[in-house]
């Protein structure tokens, strides 16, 4: 009896350790730091100063709102682009071509995000491939800078999110038996309302889980906005990085971190409510 219980905890211990040491403890610690006012002379004391500063400085909360907005936009665009791709892979492509297409989607993710970002920079920069191509086609008369604007950030984020959208979508659509689509046609449906009333409701758990992942990844992305965004790229993770690394203001950085965590949890919770999905149904996919 006691022996089996001992075994139970033994098996559970890696999970408990992982949760405790890598999830709960650092976050609790971060919360603690964010509520501390550091003073060399007076010693540390409890303070809401860092949260107050966030609301007092328009720069910070504007960046916060902007980051959330761009991340949401990225998620929607990723969904819009990935859905037809996933549909093609899951429902139309057959046998070998299906595998090849799926691999083609995954392949770019075998190199690091940094390399992919540099790849895009080579394409989009003023002396880059796209500008050169348009020049040689005579569409533009002098080099155009495609990099360092919000469009470039969006492009980079959508690109890095695609895989995480396509995989759950393909698995969700794969599980939709063709007979449901045929039944839709048989009962008089056309492509559009079969998509809306049969395919999308069926793929909803996949759509929501893909969206959650892409949203989280975009919101927390540092590299893409930093490298591709240029002088106007305001991104909340950049603010956190700046506070921690260049300002040595861990207290402010922690407060920002907690705020970002709150924001992402809130938006995920809201989107689950709106789509009437539960976290377990979408993550169990």
């Amino acid at each position: 009896m006691t022996n089996s219980r001992w075994h139970f905890y033994l098996f559970l211990s890696p999970l408990l350790l992982w949760l405790g040491l890598l999830v709960i403890w650092p976050h609790a610690n971060m919360l603690d730091v964010s509520l501390t006012e550091r003073s060399y002379i007076k010693g540390n004391s409890f303070s809401l100063k860092h949260y107050r500063l966030f609301f007092e400085q328009p720069l910070y909360w504007l960046t916060y709102v902007r980051t959330a907005w761009v991340a949401i936009l990225t998620t929607l665009m990723t969904l819009l682009i990935s859905f037809p791709v996933a549909y093609y892979i899951a429902k139309i492509a057959k046998g070998r071509s299906k595998l090849v297409l799926f691999l083609a989607c995954i392949l770019p993710f075998w190199v690091s995000e940094l390399v992919r970002a540099y790849g895009w920079m080579i394409v989009l920069r003023e002396s880059g491939l796209l500008s050169g191509l348009l020049l040689s086609l005579g569409i533009i008369s002098e080099p155009v800078e495609f990099l360092y604007n919000d469009g470039a950030i969006l492009l980079g984020l959508v690109y890095s999110g695609m895989l995480f959208m396509i995989v759950p979508l393909v698995s969700a659509l794969d599980s939709l038996d063709n007979s449901y689509i045929e039944a839709g046609f048989d009962l008089g449906g056309n492509r559009w309302n079969i998509l809306r009333e049969i395919v999308i409701p069926h793929a909803m758990p996949g759509i929501v889980s893909g969206c959650i992942i892409v949203f989280m990844l975009s919101l927390g992305n540092y590299l893409i906005p930093n490298l591709m965004g240029g002088k106007d790229s305001l991104w909340f993770t950049e603010q956190i990085f700046t506070q921690f690394i260049t300002r040595f203001n861990w207290e402010q950085g922690s407060a920002f971190g907690i705020l970002l965590l709150t924001l992402s949890s809130l938006i995920v919770w809201l989107s689950l409510k709106v789509t009437r999905q539960s976290l377990s149904s979408t993550m169990g996919q």
Partner: protein, 363 residues
């Protein structure tokens, strides 16, 4: 060529997949209001035929006419036919009522009429209070009825059914056979039903087409198919039977004498002309064979050794060995004594109950 009473007619319908011919030059008609079954083993082309009728496959050649209208260029969503899928394909993300209303909505039926029709059809299939249920809450039989209701509410000219009973357990399947037949009679809709289960076809249908290798071997009422199969394939596929191979020794009118491979000579009835010396097959249904001494008077007799009793109540049989060939014989419960394995007994049957048909592929 098409009769006004025909719900469906096909002429010279052919479907080829690369070099494989799934449906081979079929021509047939189905009268309005009939329960028409297509019976055949898997791979005989019956599913392809049904999918062509529904519009999911395009015929390689030939035409399909439904209610006098040519269907070649009509997409599935505009055909006056509906289909009950093998696994029913009830939309799991919708309630029962939403499933039934789906087709009505596509036709632009207004909300009030939709609700009325849904309630009506639910009452007719005997599930009046199920509208708000989720599909997963239904039992197997209830799902069948909802799948049929979803189609019938659209009042199709022809209802196509793709082995919908296949997934049910035996007991429920027996029950649903009766229920399906009743539903069909009640609604008066033309049913085209495909199955590989001869019992389903025999019980429910007005007419059955036996299909093999993309062609109809024989089309007729269940009784005709059972009593007077025209080909060896039909004889073997419809109902239980004992088959022997042999060669024709003599023919006298519709009576022929056949020398069997085991050396015996039996007399049989033949409808098609069989030539002397030709190899044929001889079929005797288990219920036509008599057992024991009382049977000596019949024309055809055989000595046999009991192998095994196959007890199944009123449908009990005994498996015997006749000169190296296994034969099934019905026996009544009163005859049950003396059926211990190893016992010798004699079999006998009338020549009228013995059917002689050319071997498959020989004609």
């Amino acid at each position: 060529m098409t009769h006004p009473d025909d719900a469906l007619s096909c002429s010279n319908l052919t479907k080829k997949f690369d070099s494989f011919t799934a449906v081979d030059d079929l021509s047939f008609t189905v009268e309005k209001g009939r329960f028409f079954s297509i019976l055949g083993p898997s791979g005989c082309g019956k599913t392809t035929l049904l999918r062509m009728l529904a519009g999911f496959e395009h015929p390689t050649s030939g035409s399909i006419t439904i209610k006098g209208q040519e269907m070649s260029n009509v997409p599935p969503n505009l055909r006056p036919v509906n289909m009950v899928f093998q696994h029913l394909a009830l939309f799991p993300t919708m309630t029962v009522a939403q499933n039934i209303a789906y087709g009505l909505k596509r036709r632009g039926v207004n909300r009030a009429d939709r609700e009325k029709k849904v309630l009506e059809v639910l009452a007719r299939v005997g599930l009046p209070d199920s509208g708000e249920k989720a599909i997963s809450q239904l039992s197997g039989g209830q799902k069948q009825r909802i799948a049929i209701a979803r189609c019938l509410v659209l009042e199709p000219e022809v209802l196509l059914l793709d082995e919908p009973l296949g997934a049910l357990d035996l007991k429920l399947r027996e029950h649903m056979k009766v229920e399906l037949k009743q539903l069909q009679q009640e609604f008066g809709t033309t049913f085209v039903y495909i199955t590989h289960d001869q019992s389903e076809a025999l019980v429910m249908s007005d007419k059955v087409a036996v299909m093999n290798h993309g062609r109809f071997e024989q089309v007729g009422s269940p009784q005709e198919l059972y009593r007077a199969p025209k080909t060896a394939f039909t004889a073997r596929f419809v109902g239980d039977t004992n088959a022997f191979e042999g060669t024709v020794q003599s023919v006298e009118g519709d009576r022929a004498e056949i020398a069997l491979a085991n050396g015996l000579v039996v007399a049989a009835r033949t409808e098609s002309t069989v030539d002397l010396g030709k190899s044929v097959e001889v079929f005797i249904r288990p219920e036509n064979i008599m057992l024991g001494e009382a049977a000596q008077s019949r024309e055809n007799t055989m000595e046999a050794i009991v192998l095994q009793e196959l007890f199944d109540g009123a449908n009990s049989k005994v498996l015997v060995n006749c000169s190296g060939q296994q034969v099934q014989v019905h026996h009544s419960v009163s005859q049950a004594s003396g059926l211990t394995p190893g016992n010798k007994l004699s079999l006998s049957w009338d020549w009228q109950h013995t059917l002689c048909l050319p071997k498959d592929g020989a004609s």
